[in-house]
């Protein structure tokens, strides 16, 4: 590489990079960093984020088509090598699912009978909004995705986002036609959850690792937690509906319960944003009944 650096005097005299400006800008950035510590939700910053999401969404959308295509081709090639095992696994799963289907059909009749009773108040229905993942923060510490639905599709910050396997995160910034989803593994992610069948309530705290951990807020004494128990959203705080599948218990150390997420972020492509209206207090006369109706999943330990 002799050609570079030989001409070190060419073109430098006119517009030499000023050290003063450099140091000034470093100071400005540090100030920005400090101020974002204390006012992360300040309207100026929020507007800037939303503006950038809106401005880059068309570019990201343009690129995400070919990217998805090549990912699909690469995925297909690796699938060819284990097509036989996959086929067998799928046939087994299909047989199992058929049994579940029969059971579900039976249960549907029972539920319909209960719903016919006059005392039953139906829980408010969620209105899903479908979207594609067009961007992703490929950053060591920030875990988020950008999806192509925004304020024009009635997406609001706080809404839960699921894919075909389970919860993947929640909306944090909404632009006009694209929004950012904070993933469960991000360091800022806090999602109220409970462990099915134990009455153990907690907050799922992201820590940039693949498997986030639950910090316990409420539990009966001596709860037995086994590997493989389901973890669902608890709906505490009133933004997410109760009972969205999050993952299964992976293991328990002395002070944390590690959760193996259902979501596989390397494969998330089509997502569903859940527009959930939490029942407002005072809107109905019988608020308790409403809350009871809001919990479709029974918890034996509490009952």
């Amino acid at each position: 590489m002799e050609f570079l650096g030989q001409d070190r005097r060419e073109g430098l005299g006119r517009r030499a990079n000023s050290r003063f400006v450099l140091i000034l800008l470093i100071l400005v950035s540090v100030l920005l960093l400090l101020s974002s510590l204390y006012s992360a939700q300040a309207s100026v910053f929020k507007k800037a984020r939303e503006g950038v999401i809106d401005a880059t969404a068309p570019v990201l959308e343009l690129f995400s088509g070919p990217v998805a295509y090549f990912n699909g081709v690469a995925g297909n090639i690796s699938d060819y090598f284990n097509v036989l095992e996959q086929n067998k696994a799928l046939r087994d799963e299909n047989a199992e699912l058929r049994q579940w289907m029969n059971e579900a059909l039976e249960l549907r009749k029972v539920v319909a009978a209960y719903e016919g009773l006059q005392t039953y108040h139906a829980p408010p229905e969620a209105q899903p909004i479908d979207a594609y993942v067009i961007g992703e923060a490929n950053d060591a510490f920030a875990r988020s995705m950008i999806v192509n639905a925004g304020r024009t599709q009635n997406v609001e910050p706080g809404y839960a986002v699921v894919d075909d396997k389970g919860l993947i995160g929640r909306i944090v910034d909404t632009g006009g036609s694209a929004s950012r989803v904070l993933l469960l593994t991000d360091i800022q992610s806090r999602i109220p959850v409970f462990v099915e069948g134990t009455g153990l309530e907690g907050i799922l705290v992201g820590n940039t690792r693949g498997k986030p951990a639950i910090s316990i807020t409420e539990s009966a004494d001596d709860v037995e937690i086994a590997q493989g128990q389901r973890v669902l959203t608890s709906g505490a705080g009133g933004v997410m509906p109760r009972g969205l599948p999050v993952g299964v218990i992976d293991g328990q150390t002395r002070d944390e319960i590690v959760v193996d997420l259902y979501a596989n972020y390397a494969r998330t492509r089509l997502v569903r944003i859940i527009n959930y209206e939490f029942p407002a207090i005072g809107e109905t006369l019988s608020e308790e009944e409403e809350e009871a109706g809001d919990e479709p999943i029974a918890e034996p330990a509490e009952g």
């Binding site: 650096g5 800008l25 960093l33 993942v133 923060a137 490929n138 995705m145 944090v172 690792r209």
Partner: protein, 170 residues
């Protein structure tokens, strides 16, 4: 070519490294998921900032570096100013060692980039750990920086060709 067109062309040439940096940021925001998400996406803006800070700082003014960092912060959703600080400090360190790197072999410059990437990672990790209050795991960051260091020779040659053939040539 008219005077105005010539002027526009020279502005474009000066801004080209910054636009490359923006492209690198967009590249970081694409859902590439190389090898099912096993391979991390290299941080190309770091290469852009490093390269032009050594060989032609006039094409990479600090304002451009600041804007590249700011765009990355806004797009990844991290704390505002984080990547701006990392890139600006990298430029500061690199420019103070500029006279050493100029005219050296590509291997030496690659080693220099490795050191710059390592110091950038250390800075990132320290700031993020301070801001979140816990010592964060470093695995993902190390893998990403390793990927960035591995692709440096390729992009170094490509940027060198671009600079020599397109930007400096009249």
């Amino acid at each position: 070519m008219g005077y105005r067109a010539e002027n526009l062309l020279s502005v474009l040439k000066t801004a080209a490294p910054m636009l490359l940096g923006f492209l690198g940021v967009i590249f970081l925001a694409l859902p590439l998921r190389l090898f099912e998400g096993v391979a991390p996406t290299p941080i190309i803006p770091l290469v852009v900032v490093f390269f032009w800070s050594i060989y032609a700082p006039a094409y990479m003014p600090s304002v451009s570096v600041f804007l590249i960092g700011l765009l990355q912060d806004l797009l990844t959703g991290g704390p505002l100013g984080l990547w701006a600080v990392v890139y600006l400090v990298t430029q500061f360190v690199v420019m103070s060692q500029r006279s050493y790197f100029l005219g050296r072999e590509q291997k030496v410059v690659w080693l220099g980039f490795t050191l710059a990437a390592a110091s950038a990672s250390l800075m990132l990790w320290l700031v993020m750990s301070l801001m979140s209050g816990v010592l964060l795991p470093v695995g993902g960051l190390l893998a990403q920086m390793a990927a960035t260091i591995l692709i440096y020779p390729l992009f170094g040659v490509a940027f060198g060709e671009l600079h020599r053939r397109v930007l400096v040539e009249a």
